[in-house]
């Protein structure tokens, strides 16, 4: 006797597979075949999930064209269907999938562009938090600056690429796309949503080192040393003021408070 679980497993195989065969034995057939009937569900699933990916990855879609994107998206859906009933959370593995997607081999930066777009998507729905008030910081005595510990805003994401990934993303925001010189080297991108808008910017190697150290819990002094080791030209004050203005940090505390209250 067929149980509900048998039917559901067979249906899943029919929807994510190429034909209705797994489900056929359970379905009433008349002049309309089981294949056509199951095919409606297969289409609904593949089209709706591919659309969800397209909404999340507009620049990837623009780079490869609608038809190519649709092929890639359907292949991804079949290989990695959602594990959560929540489309906002679906598609995080698309960049990695594209890295290994044979037909996309001629566009080697595609996976990195996808990772940047996913970071933007994550930032958009991330937890909200106030940003550090520069005025409050000015009350800290100058000799204690080195002991400051910042916490990155919960929406902060860093994407590192050996391609000029932010530049590629940026030129694809305009109707007319200007070419990007792929030989200009890699870019590290800070993505975040300090208020209501997602923003992204290229980080220098020094800033990257500074933020990475801060994120791992280093004091400002420790982080500044790490940044200077990475980039001899690093200008701490300039970088710090810029990030405070942009809202990269949500809290600040003194090292003595580290691990306790903020």
């Amino acid at each position: 006797m067929s149980t509900l679980l048998d039917i559901q497993e067979a249906f899943r195989a029919g929807v994510l597979g190429d034909d209705d065969l797994p489900a056929r034995g359970f379905i009433v057939e008349d002049e309309i075949s089981s294949d056509r009937r199951v095919g409606i569900y297969r289409n609904n699933t593949l089209i709706s999930l591919s659309k969800a990916l397209a909404a999340c990855y507009p620049v990837v879609e623009r780079l490869v064209g609608e038809r190519f994107f649709d092929q890639a998206a359907r292949a991804f859906v079949k290989a990695h269907p959602p594990l959560q009933p929540q489309l906002l959370a679906y598609g995080g593995g698309f960049g990695t999938f594209l890295d290994g997607f044979e037909p996309a081999r001629s566009v080697p930066y595609l996976g990195d562009v996808a990772r940047l777009e996913w970071a933007r998507n994550e930032a958009l729905f991330a937890e909200e938090a106030p940003i550090v008030d520069i005025a409050a910081l000015q009350r800290v005595p100058a000799d204690q600056y080195g002991a400051l510990c910042f916490r990155p805003h919960p929406s902060v994401r860093i994407v590192r690429s050996r391609w000029p990934v932010q530049s590629i993303w940026q030129v694809n925001q305009a109707d007319e796309v200007k070419p990007v010189d792929l030989d200009r080297g890699g870019e590290t991108v800070l993505v975040m949503r300090p208020t209501s808008q997602v923003v992204s910017q290229i980080l220098t190697a020094g800033e990257d080192a500074l933020l990475a150290a801060i994120a791992s819990g280093a004091t400002l002094e420790e982080a500044a040393v790490r940044a200077a080791e990475t980039d001899a030209q690093f200008d701490l004050q300039h970088a710090l003021v810029a990030h405070l203005q942009r809202g990269t940090f949500c809290t600040v505390s003194l090292e003595t408070d580290r691990g306790t209250a903020e």
Binding site: L4, L5, R12, R37, I40, Y41, P85, E128, R193
Partner: protein
Amino acid sequence: MADQTREAHTGFEHLGIPDRAGVGLRHPHIPAFVRERPPAAWLEVHTENYIGAGGPRLRALEKIRQDYPLSCHGVGLSLGSAEGLDKGHLANIKAVIDRFQPGLISEHVSWSVTGGVYLNDLLPLPYTDEALDIICRNIEHAQEALGRQMLVENPSSYVSFKSSTMPEWEFMAAIVKRTGCGLLLDVNNIHVSAHNHRFDANAYLDAVPLDKVQEIHVAGHFVQHFADEDGTDRVILIDDHGTHVESAVWTLFRRALERVGPTPTLVEWDNNIPELDVLLAEARKAELILSSVRAQHSSMANVHVA
């Protein structure tokens, strides 16, 4: 009786869902609802779209919620899953409900999840005693976890199963009786399934417990023609929510309304989403039918009084 507002178990009692026509709130229309407060009697959202820690989408709905009665219509709980409900997802739904305090909450008589995989479609159930036990258990679990009654919507479907032992209307009636949930009557789904499975839509209305209907959905569907092997033209109706409501569905809507009485009615439009004006015009059609049925009902009430 006019504009009678159903009591909602929320902190926004003044924003309970009225017996009038609302529209499904979709992303392209959100800025207009935030800025211009366009005329819709109430709004319904897909609950899953508002799961999330933060961000402008939640902020926009919080703003809109202050101006409109709201219903949360789930599409991912998978009430018909043999493996039971996903507790994490149920907790996420609870958080959305706590945040937005909807006047009504609803889900579908269908399934979407098996083996932990979410297929993002409302998939059909066999109408068997086993499936009935499972969906009732899951609905009871959901109502318990969410702490309130939910409505369940009759599905549209393109297959029927050999193992089914009862018609859909009997399955629906049994669910309502056993779990105490309410009914969300989707008249487009009845029309679509009646065509696809060759039953009489009016007989469906005769058989479901109309006294338990607390909301009605109307929507458009797609008429797919194809030739079978011997070249005969065949038609299958696809519930795509992608166009205007067809006249046969408006007729069925009126017939249902005449029996149920004025009831919150929602126009759903999810594919080929039109300009907001087009959607609102569709809601006005529903409102006209609601008004006419309301007038009939109140004149009948007057006769009883006399």
